[in-house]
Each structure stands twice: as structure tokens, then as C-alpha cells.
Symmetry: C2
Subunit: 234 residues, 2 copies
DNA sequence: CTGTTATTTATGTCTATATATATGGCTATT
DNA sequence: AATAGCCATATATATAGACATAAATAACAG
């Protein structure tokens, strides 16, 4: 809360502005007073008001345009923030014990669909890794991944027997670009087997492609155990 | 691009710092020079450097602590931003034509699971709405929704025959809080029927609970047509 | 040696001011 | 009536300096 009558911080201003939006004092599509006017009202400075409004705009509440002013957005195109934690962090956060297990690791020629998806050269070698992640010894996630050794040559020396490729990649590659998709897939016999689920069960699935300066590094498909929910609050 | 040799903007500084992280000049866990030192190096001011570093920290690249300094994060816990558009915007963005169709609208006593989930009073009345969203006349999403009239009394006068409850709610309620979950479910005969999919097909499903100043406004379950993918880039 | 206190330091934030830039609206021109 | 050019204005960003605050370190007391 703001100090009795002293100057308001940018947080206080954010709070007040947000309340005025949420209580309908400032209706959607309406124009806010200019930064100068608000600075006067809050006996603050334009710089401070600017920061408050800028952050509210980043959070999706306001739209700001030079000369045109700041207006309240009507359709809250608010951004859901899903943080993408390392899987052992995600599991540890629930209090469960994390366990990793390698299923397969082999060098193979990239299948054509992968070459197309990652824009690889024809018949390029890729490292194929399959592994399991467990929470309290229950199946949590089945990971199927391809890694392009041409982009990360060091991967050839990695056995991935003790820890998963994601851990290694995150430490090794400061990825520059990422495409992330979520979908629902049907458990085939292999996935069902690994995830201890009936064949045909709906499986929450993530697909992840990582690029390093324009070149595809890795493609991963992550199959979550039945019952998995990805949740966010905002 | 930076002006030849003049002062660097906070964007330029962000860019340079990010490059130094991504090229390994500043390794994970290592400490960056202080804001003062960087300000000197970039012939800028501490305020400007501060903004650059602050934003990089928000984006998940850096960790900053008073007195302790700024260090490079080893696991970039980057945030995936999924914007939550209105469904007709989402469909229009693909170039398809949006069509809406009401399936059912009825006032009923809240089922006990819903009461528990939304912390409703016992035997409270809720408006039950089921509707379909089509893209180019193909099933896109089947929506099942409960709305609490006690929180939004005006909903009683809404027929939802021409447009969906989401549109109406977004315009009417400046929601204060939102819980959003994604999961994979199995199409039962009803869902399969509406989405024109085989029974048992995996269905990408969203669950959404909206609160207005502590009171639950609406609970929605959104079943997407087979093949739906939620994608983001970062 | 241990626990407490004081000091130092890097970040956090605010103030005051100045310049830059986009753009809505006005005006003059075609 | 449409268009091009100009101007006023609100936001965008930069600067310089100050005080606030958290936390690592050093100094100190028991």
C-alpha cells in the first residue's frame, strides 16, 4: 500500500489504474488522461507514470500510441504465460521424486518428414533418442527426440544414460528460437506401453523445435502420462 | 540498428548483451559487470542499462539481485506467451469464415461438482449453455459453459442465439482472475457427434474458469476439433 | 569459534528535464 | 474530393543525479 500521502510508486499507480479499469471507471475503448495529467493527479512524474502504463500495456490491459494516447483494450487479449521449466524441476515442484531412464540412443539418417520439418540437407545424420521421465516411479513423460549433430557436434560424445537430452541441450545450447505446439494424440501400443496407459487413450502431447541461429538443433515430441493438465493463472 | 557511434539505445544494449550470452562470452552462472561499468562501456547511463538488463531478466535470461549483481541464468526458463483471442478472431486470422450456432441454453441447478469447483452456494442456479463454433462450416470447437447469474444478472436476458457467451462475457465482464488448463480428453458420443469425429478420438480440451473480484463468473470447457494444435514461437 | 552488527555495494526506484518520433487533424494544393 | 504537407501533441526514450534497499562482506563482541 502507498505511504500515507507521500509519492506513489509505479506499482501503486499500476494498481490504481488497474482498479479503475476493472471497476469500469475507465471503460473499454475509452481514452485515459495523458501521462502528464496522471503525473499531476498522482503527484508523481511522467517517468513514473510512463513505467506504470507501459507495463500495463505489456500485460495486455492498455494500448498505447504516440500522439493518440492510451486507451483501454476491450477484448482482453491477455497473454497466458506458461513457463517452460526443465522437466525435473517441474516434477520436483510437485514434491515427487524425479527419475530418468534412457530407452534408445542411435545415429540414423533423418527420415524425410523430419528433414522437411527442420530444413535439413538430404540424408543428414541425426541422433535419435528415446527416454522416459518418472515422477515417484510412475510414468510421467515419454520423450522422443532427434538432435542434429552437425549443429552440435559435442552431442556425439553424450551417452544420455544418466540424464536426458533436454538437460544437456539447455546447458549446452543457448537456443535462439523455439517453436512449441500442444495437441492431443492417441496412444499407440508403444506409447501406451511406456506410459502405462491403455492403447487408444488420449495423450497430451507437446512438440518442440529449437533453432540455433537459423539452423534447427533438435525436434522433440513429448508424450505426457494420462491425466496431465497444463495450467496457468492470470 | 545503432546510429554509427552515437549513444546506444536500451534496445541496442539488450541486443549486445543477448549476443554475449548466446555466443558464450558471458557464460551461464557468471556475473555480469555492474550497471555502472556497462554504462561506461556503452557510453550510456545507468538508467538505460538498467532498463535493458531489467527487460532481459523479465524475459528469463538474467537473474538480478541487489548487491549480488546480475548473472546469466543457466536454464532459460523462458515464458511461452499464448495470447487468448476471441474465437472468431482466431478463426478469422486463418482466413476462414466463422459461424456460430447455439445448441442449448437452460437454467438449472448447479451440479455438485461445479458448486465445489466454483465455491458456489448449495443448489445455486446456473445458466447452462452449449454451442458450436465453425470455421468454413467445419466443426472447430464445441463449447460447454456454465454461467453464474448471481454474479452477472444481465445474463438472464441474453439468448445467445446470435453470438456466443464468450463474446458477451468479454464485453460485459472485466474479469479479474482466470484459471486456464489444457488437457487431452476422449471424445464421448456427444462430443464426437458435434465435432464430426470418431468416438474415442483424442480431443484437445481447454478448461477455463473466470472470476470477478473473488466470485466465480463462469466455467467453460472447450473441445477442439481433431487435429487442432496450439502453437507459439519464442 | 560463533553469532551479531556495521559497512559497503549493486540494484531498485524516483525526480527532473530534454530530445526524438509517430500520428491525428488541419490546411493548402491538385 | 482526394492528396500532400505541416503542426501540435502524446508517447518513447535518454540523461543525470539522488535516495532506498537488500545482501555480501568485514568488523566486532562474546
Amino acid at each position: 500500500m502507498a505511504r500515507s500521502h507521500a509519492t506513489m510508486s509505479y506499482r501503486d499507480i499500476k494498481q490504481v489504474v488497474l482498479e479503475r479499469i476493472q471497476t469500469g471507471i475507465w471503460l473499454p475503448d475509452s481514452l485515459l488522461p495523458s501521462e502528464m495529467e496522471l503525473a499531476t493527479e498522482f503527484s508523481s512524474t511522467r517517468t513514473t507514470v510512463n513505467r506504470a502504463l507501459r507495463e500495463l500495456a505489456e500485460e495486455g490491459y492498455l494500448e498505447r500510441k504516440r500522439r493518440a494516447g492510451t486507451r483501454v483494450l476491450n477484448s482482453p487479449i491477455r497473454k497466458a504465460n506458461f513457463s517452460i521449466p526443465l522437466i525435473h524441476d517441474e516434477i520436483a515442484a510437485t514434491g515427487a521424486t524425479y527419475r530418468y531412464s534412457l530407452v534408445e540412443r542411435s545415429l540414423q539418417t533423418a527420415p524425410s518428414w523430419l528433414s522437411a520439418r527442420l530444413s535439413l540437407k538430404k540424408d543428414q545424420d541425426v541422433l535419435y533418442v528415446r527416454c522416459m521421465h518418472y515422477a515417484n516411479n510412475a510414468a510421467f513423460q515419454f520423450e522422443v527426440r532427434w538432435i542434429v549433430p552437425e549443429v552440435v557436434p559435442e552431442v556425439i560424445d553424450e551417452s544420455f544414460e544418466q540424464s536426458g537430452p533436454n538437460d544437456w541441450l539447455v546447458r549446452k545450447i543457448p537456443f535462439t528460437n523455439l517453436e512449441l505446439s500442444f495437441m492431443a494424440t492417441k496412444a499407440d501400443s508403444e506409447i501406451a506401453d511406456f506410459l502405462d496407459a491403455p492403447v487408444g487413450d488420449p495423450i497430451f502431447t507437446a512438440e518442440r523445435i529449437t533453432w540455433l541461429r537459423g539452423a534447427a538443433v533438435t525436434y522433440a515430441k513429448l508424450y505426457f502420462a494420462p491425466g496431465y493438465r497444463m495450467t496457468t493463472h492470470l
